[in-house]
Amino acid sequence: MINELRELYRYRYLLSQLVVRDIKVRYKNSVLGFFWSLANPLLQVATITIVIKYIMGLGVGNYSAYLLAGYLPWMFFQLALLDSSQVVLLHRDLLRKVYFPREVLPISVVGANLVHYMLSLAVFFAYLLFFRLFLHGAPLTAKILLLPVLMALQCALVMGLAFFISCLNVFYEDVKYLLSALLSVFFYLTPVMYPAELVHDKLVHIHPMLYKLYLLLPMNALTDAYRKTLLPSVGSISIRGTEVHTLPLDYGMLAISGVLCLVFAVAGYRFFNARKWVFAERV
């Protein structure tokens, strides 16, 4: 694996070129390219806000900010994985002609989506600042220092899964269908639209361990931690007028979840490397 990493390092310029190319192509044909890419999540956030806040009656300080703090990381997760399922087939002509370390393809996909994610976080911070200046709301605290750690762990998770998915999709083309089905299921299983506290309230009555297991689902501990990092003072949570007990950030579960992310990254890389030289014969 050390030799593979050394070879990958030798091709770092290719990696940066692939990321730059992806971003350029994505935003090239319209000046408003970046804003168009924000339009979709914003529309989603507006819709979900109406449904969850006004129809279902979830009471959280600033629900839109609360939702975005979970939704933006989720978008990074989802878009990077969907892109990774296509990336090897997309570069089939190159694969069949030229030698290069194949792992630059999924890595570049995660890299490009990470850049995109960071841009959307920047817009989110601008939005938070606006609320802090003109309205009440959530000021940033020292907890924000945890954000880079969370992002690094999420990158490891996304990278590991992207290695598995990009590789498997070469051999079984229905992996991408399975993936999009699973992603829509996990969108509901992950505390993006709702607070993890609501799940805690239900599960803790059955068995205290169940909530811990719930947090171990791929993005769950991370999403909860993102939220408690980006919006440290949510205040109270209520559902249809009934107060829900707020929970502090569970560092223990975050640590276990973080270790799992790193395990995914290493396992994915090994899985990918063991199969990457057959791609040229299969695409």
Binding site: Y13, V25, K28, K97, V98, V175, L178, A280, E281
Partner: protein, 253 residues
């Protein structure tokens, strides 16, 4: 031996015969019941050495294994057994669609192609002017590649391959570059490339260009080396066999 640029020892390569190229989970489950997948032989026990400064044409029928051989050399395929030894930096001349992104400009695509060949940003900064000059595309270099004609794309591809100064240049069936004038320029460039002791290996069906450029030809037939040596002689042998086969089919028909 320091003189060898490429050395292949007892290369064997076979491919799994896939019913449909892209597998699906269903076919994977079905194949659990079947016995081992059938394989087709790509290359059988190929041993050859190409020395520095040689220009070698690989010829043969479609499906004979020519391109497989080139891909073994360029490390795109891993052999089932045998060893591949390459001395020096290799670059592959990319055919039309492979290396270019239509939305990006010629200049952006040059940088990308350099990166694909394993070069660094600094390397490319040193090469970019020569590449653009040689391609004669100065006026179009900042236009998106989707506006280029096929001839312009080939010129750009050839310029990148040659002007990045590899020790070994691999070409898969793309010597018909642009108009007659530009073709002459390419032949001249290949000639000076040879003078510098660089190695060229190319796969082609165009026997005239093979005769003109190559000092040595390797005829691959059914995954084996059928003949290897002086270009003119090997091509004659190859043509004789083709004519022979044609006669035989006529007699049967």
């Amino acid at each position: 031996m320091m003189n060898s640029a490429i050395s292949l020892q007892h290369i064997n390569k076979s491919f799994e015969l896939l019913r449909d190229k892209h597998g699906s989970l269903k076919s994977a489950f079905l194949s659990l019941r079947r016995s081992r997948p059938r394989t087709i032989l790509g290359l059988q026990d190929i041993t050859l050495t190409i020395n520095k400064g040689e220009t070698v044409a690989i010829i043969g029928k479609n499906g004979s294994g020519k391109s497989t051989l080139l891909r073994i050399i360029s490390r795109v395929y891993r052999p089932n057994s045998g060893s591949v030894d390459v001395n020096g930096r290799m670059s592959t001349m990319l055919a039309l669609a492979a290396g270019f992104h239509p939305e990006l400009t010629g200049r952006e695509n040059i940088y990308f192609n350099g990166a694909i060949m394993g070069l660094s940003a600094a390397d490319m900064a040193g090469n970019i002017d020569r590449i653009i000059d040689f391609s004669e595309l100065n006026d179009f270099i900042d236009a998106p590649v989707k506006t280029y004609s096929d001839g312009m794309l080939m010129r750009l591809g050839f310029s990148i391959a040659v002007e990045t100064d590899p020790d070994i240049l691999l070409i898969d069936e793309v010597l018909a570059v642009g108009d007659a004038e530009f073709q002459e320029k390419c032949y001249d460039r290949i000639e000076s490339f040879k003078q510098l002791g660089r190695t060229i290996v190319f796969v082609t069906h165009d026997l005239d260009s093979a005769r003109r450029v190559a000092s040595r030809a390797i005829w691959i037939n059914a995954g084996k080396i059928a003949a290897d040596g002086d270009t003119v002689q090997v091509i004659d042998q190859y043509l004789a066999s083709v004519v022979h086969v044609e006669h035989a089919t006529k007699e049967i028909g």
